[in-house]
């Protein structure tokens, strides 16, 4: 009996060794066993949480397009992508903001290659509230007073509305963790570079989380990509100030550049892309790739 147990133990270990041993250590993905091609390339793609779902959708679709490359996607935020680009550990970095000159220089210095910029789509940040909140439009200065440090609007009644669904009248601010590209962009759009967000907001981890929490919370206001809208939330029309006209976050308004909080989405490659990476980026910018952009609620580039 003891022998059987020992044999079991050894065979588990051996199986483990075989699993490890069978993976070729030379950096090529062992998918080449399954696909008949001799060389199989893994493209490393990392960065913005805003783009991560899109990047994932591209990666998924790309497996049926290319038999020679597969794409590895991770999120974590624009900062992560740029950091990885600087360290030279990714092939393509996703970024929901433009790379800073300092970062560009660092990357060039560290890796000897100049990052190349590609605009792969546009994202409009929508301001979400619970459908029961009796409000349809809001101005940027009002949002700044809600979110900014020292802001004066803390109750729904300060906005001049009677939010009967929210008995405490307190505005619950939903935000994102402080390093996400979405957070950076929204802060810049609202407050410029000199003011910070007030602490005490709920800093949720994902764009989807924001929308889901708002969908359950009549007191809440929050921001997230317009692609994340569900039937449980309401998007507000936005105006740059009280006298300007309000624009709803729709495809047309974003394309016409009249919606005030929309931004381009970037991908950066290390140096001029070649080979499989070039093929992948070309495919992303093709009609087929851009169809996915639209399908996910973002705004495609080529219609511009």
């Amino acid at each position: 009996m003891k022998k059987t147990v020992i044999v079991c133990f050894v065979s588990v270990l051996v199986c483990g060794c075989v699993v490890i041993g069978c993976s070729p250590p030379d950096g090529h993905n062992s998918n080449n066993v399954a696909t008949k091609n001799s060389v199989h390339v893994t493209i490393k793609n990392k960065g913005s949480d805003t783009i991560v779902n899109l990047a994932q959708a591209w990666a998924e679709k790309y497996t049926s397009v290319s038999r020679t490359a597969s794409v590895e996607v991770s999120g974590g935020g624009s900062g992560t992508g740029v950091a990885a680009l600087i360290n030279g550990t990714v092939d393509i970095a996703n970024c929901s903001r433009q790379i800073k000159p300092k970062e560009l220089e660092q990357a060039t210095q560290n890796t000897g290659k100049v990052p190349q910029e590609f605009i792969v789509g546009y994202d409009a940040l929508a301001v979400y509230v619970h459908p029961d909140t009796p409000i349809d439009k809001i101005t940027i200065p009002q949002l700044a007073e809600i979110y900014g440090e020292g802001g004066k609007i803390t109750k729904w009644s300060h906005l001049g509305i009677q939010n009967s669904a929210c008995p405490s009248d307190e505005i619950i601010r939903i935000s994102r963790q402080s390093n996400s590209g979405t957070y950076f962009y929204f802060r810049e759009a609202l407050l410029g570079e000199n003011r910070d967000f007030r602490i005490g907001s709920l800093d949720l981890h994902g764009s989807k989380d924001v929308v889901e929490v708002i969908g359950r919370t009549p007191c809440a206001i929050g921001y997230s990509g317009m692609g994340y809208a569900t039937s449980h939330v309401k998007m507000l029309a936005i105006a740059t100030d009280e006298d300007a006209s309000y624009y709803a976050p729709t495809l047309e308004n974003v394309l016409a550049k009249s919606y005030p909080i929309a931004r381009p989405l970037y991908m950066y490659s290390l140096g001029e892309p070649v080979g499989e990476i070039k093929a992948y980026l070309d495919w992303i910018l093709s009609t087929e790739g851009q169809k996915i952009v639209q399908k996910l609620g973002f705004v495609p580039v080529e219609n511009n």
Partner: protein, 294 residues
Amino acid sequence: MFTETPIDRRKQLTERVVRIFLLVVTSVMIIPLLLIIGYLLYKAIPVLSFEFLFSNPRDNMRAGGIWAPFLGTIYLVVVSLLVSAPIGVFAAVYLNEYARESWFTRVTNLAVVNLAGVPSIVHALFGVGAFVLFAGLGESILAASLTLAIMTLPVIIASTTEALKAVPMSFREACWNLGATRWQTIRRIVIPNSISGILTGVILQVSRAAGETAPIMFTGAVFYKTIAEGNLFAYNITEQCMALSLHLFTISTQVPDVTEGTPHGTAIVLVGSVLLVNAAAIVLRVYLRTRKKW
């Protein structure tokens, strides 16, 4: 002398009340366990199938199965096991068979206890600092597994020590008297006689490693990666992988419009595998206890 007085009656009443109260308190702990499994299963039933387990996430991770994260978790667990099992078992052998009672053993034991108490996120920081950056492994299955291995090491050490202690001293003495060396005694007598207990610890390590999220988030697990379905060797340990626990986190916080039930399905597979593995350890332990001849 033995007639019941009011005091006796009151005593008995308190006794009964206390007993019932404590029973309720204890039973309350069973409820969340059943509730969680029940809730997850109820929500997950529409998606659970063999296909769910053996197909990749699909449609922008909104639907499809969990093959890639499932396989990733297996890789992480197996690699971490290969590292922590030998180190953990030998560490316990050292503590139990070699070391003398001294301040040094005391410190070592304290280190084991403390290693078990280090928060998982601090292990993650350590993994980033030591394996990803210092050792230059980059974010990879290897780096993540090593982090998990160190994190789960105390589990193996503790249960192996327990198992070794259960082997009677007389067994060892008999062996030494036959002229065997220390290592021969350990290899021929001590380890074979405690192998089930050692295995229990190893199994518990598996369940612990499979469930962890924080230590692998920054050391090797990715949001998404396509791999060949049904191919057991689809990952390479120098690359990153998906993992069940992180997959549950991302689809429940980051991916919009996930098919109802998919996160619950992922959770039930994770909980199910962990509990099954634990149950195996329990069965092994009970079996061991009944088999013991000394």
